[in-house]
């Protein structure tokens, strides 16, 4: 029963991982640029949710879309101001650019909000459910289910809509897309917006049940990398499966071996998979 409990909470967490990792995989797949500040985007969204509630008294119905909107704008701005330029340069410049951004965001938050952990009231989304002895906090349930729905929605947008096919056309072949009258620059800006918006929703959802601190983004970035590498870059369904898997593995190893080692297990698994399959678990090459 305990194992089931742990697995379920791992799945709920994993579904949020899948959500923000989908944003990373979209950006990565579109233009082969990695956003090292991705986890810090999530951190910003967590603070946005926190301040929306504490300062403006806005509830989750407002701050979840609000965080998404703010992060969408941030994503577009980062693309236009930074990524568009460094993407043309050597790989070191790409890494430096987004890593620099990560440091600025992380330590600006550190400076502005101090290193103290803060959190939203735990009953914001209701209390705790009891399904035949399986106890689930409403906030985690809401986060998990909503994240699952939005990730699926993102996949549908990418595969079923005109916007999606234009995005994929740019990802496939920039020049060919240009000949078809698509403006790659605009599409890539949109991809960054969507990718960042996914961190906006994810961050607001995590804030419902998790403490907020300036450095929380560091480990979330790494988790997003792991999920994307395992899921195959550019693949939202891959990110979904990998995200859920990582959530469960993390929860189980925290329960069985100890919380401090949960990331050791995740990183070891990641390295192992990269060594066996350098193109990712589900990637094709």
């Amino acid at each position: 029963m305990i194992l089931l409990q742990v697995t379920v909470s791992g799945l709920l967490m994993g579904s949020v991982y899948a959500l923000f990792s989908s944003g990373l995989t979209l950006i990565w797949g579109m233009m082969n640029v990695v956003n090292f500040a991705h986890g810090d985007f999530v951190m910003l969204a967590m603070y946005a949710a926190f301040f929306a509630f504490t300062l403006l008294k806005l509830g989750p119905i407002f701050f979840i879309p609000g965080a998404a909107a703010i992060l969408f704008v941030l994503g577009v701005v980062v693309y236009l101001g930074l990524v568009r330029h460094v993407a043309k340069g050597p790989m070191l410049a790409q890494i430096l650019g987004t890593f620099g951004l990560a440091l600025v965001l992380r330590y600006a938050a550190f400076w502005a909000f101090t290193a103290n952990f803060v959190s939203l009231p735990s009953n914001l989304a209701g209390g705790t459910f009891d399904f035949y002895g399986l106890r689930i906090e409403a906030s985690r349930l809401l986060a998990g289910v909503l994240a699952l729905v939005i990730t699926t929605g993102m996949h549908l947008v990418l595969t079923r809509t005109a916007l999606g096919s234009r995005l994929l056309a740019v990802a496939e072949d920039r020049n060919a897309a240009m000949l078809m009258g698509i403006r790659p620059d605009r599409m890539q800006a949109v991809a960054w917006g969507i990718g960042a918006a996914s961190t906006g929703v994810a961050g607001a959802l995590i804030a419902l049940f998790f403490y907020v601190s300036p450095t929380v983004g560091e480990s979330l970035s790494l988790i997003a990398f792991v999920v994307v590498c395992l899921g195959g870059f550019g693949s939202v369904p891959g990110a979904l499966i990998a995200g859920l898997g990582i959530g469960v593995i993390q929860a189980l190893s925290a329960y069985l071996i100890g919380a401090v080692y949960q990331d050791v297990i995740v990183y070891s698994l990641f390295l192992l998979v990269l060594w066996v399959r350098p193109q990712g678990l589900m990637g094709t090459n």
């Binding site: 330029h85 340069g89 410049a93 620099g100 440091l103 330590y107 400076w111």
Partner: protein
């Protein structure tokens, strides 16, 4: 190298620095600049010359730092005696991590190095032999001169300068040898390099081993000078990032780039730290972040490229 006179003047200035300034803070900054230059020059062998951008060099820095203090806490040896142990451990880790990771391309390689480094940090933070989360202390008072524990930064300055000169001389020789050309070819493109008979994996490994060894020595020197380390100050991801930033600012893959980068960033860091006290760490990294962000955006090849543009006439486009 038409700039030998300039280089000579630069080194004379660096050598004279602690005698030119009377202030302990400034002398200390000088020693720290040299230490950072050693670390970043070591990173540069792999990340700059071979173009394999490691974001996990904290592993080797930490191995050197921890080895120095572990031989003291466990065996009572002078910390510097741990340097060879650190190098041995680093080489072993490098061979272990390097052989499989070098098959990875581009971003995958960088991510694998981050994950490996974080793995080691978490393990060290939970290993009692290494002082777990608290860290390790060196000898509180020097027992003999071999403890290399001095109040004045001046002895450290010359020790670090000697190591830096050895490292840069070696790098210079390497740069002009077959290995230098082969690493540049690997940086240009694995596939083309292999088609010309360059044993790519072997040369990447050579670069990594050299790089890891010297990064480890830098870690040992750091532990010897500072006398205290913990998982964050010796193995944290910010260590890896700092090496990369310093080298990239000055110019990755150039002989003096890391030294120039260190001469800019370290005084900046020490000044903000001094100005803002403990809370300065935050400001320091905002500044660091902003600098590399701007370098990446406007001058992706670092100050070296700027220098090149100033000293040599821009070659016009030729058929």
């Amino acid at each position: 190298m038409k700039q030998w006179p300039l280089v000579l003047i630069g080194f004379l200035f660096i050598a004279a620095w602690p005698l030119l300034v009377d202030d302990v803070f400034l002398q200390r900054v000088g020693a720290l600049v040299l230490l950072a230059a050693i670390s970043a020059s070591a990173w540069n062998l792999l990340g700059g010359y071979a173009g394999q951008v490691s974001v996990g060099h904290a592993v080797y820095f930490g191995a050197g730092a921890y080895a120095s203090l572990v031989v003291y806490t466990e065996l009572g040896w002078p910390p510097i005696a741990g340097a060879p142990v650190g190098v041995a451990v680093s080489l072993a880790i490098a061979a272990l991590i390097g052989t499989p990771t070098f098959r990875l391309r581009g971003h995958y390689f960088s991510m694998a190095t981050i994950a490996a480094a974080e793995l080691f940090r978490i393990l060290a933070a939970n290993w009692p032999l290494l002082g777990a989360a608290v860290g390790l202390m060196g000898p509180p008072v020097p027992r003999t001169v071999a403890d290399l524990s001095f109040l004045s930064p001046i002895p450290y300055h010359y020790l670090f300068l000697a190591v830096l000169v050895v490292l840069l001389t070696l790098t210079w020789k390497m740069q002009r040898s077959r290995m230098g050309y082969y690493l540049a070819a690997i940086r240009g493109g694995d596939r083309a390099a292999r088609s010309l008979g360059v044993p790519v994996l072997r040369y990447k490994l050579y670069a990594l081993l050299l790089s890891a060894g010297f990064t480890s020595i830098a870690g040992s020197l750091y532990a010897v000078m500072v006398g205290f380390i913990d998982p964050d100050s010796a193995l944290g991801i910010l260590i890896s990032v700092k090496l990369l930033i310093i080298a990239a600012l000055g110019g990755a893959g150039t002989l003096f780039g890391p030294l120039v980068g260190a001469m800019i960033l370290i005084p900046l860091e020490e000044t903000t730290n001094a100005m803002f006290g403990g809370g300065g760490t935050g400001i320091t990294f905002i500044v660091y972040g902003a600098i590399i962000l701007l370098v990446a955006r406007f001058q992706p090849r670092g100050i070296a490229a700027l220098w090149e543009a100033i000293t040599t006439r821009r070659a016009s486009r030729v058929p």
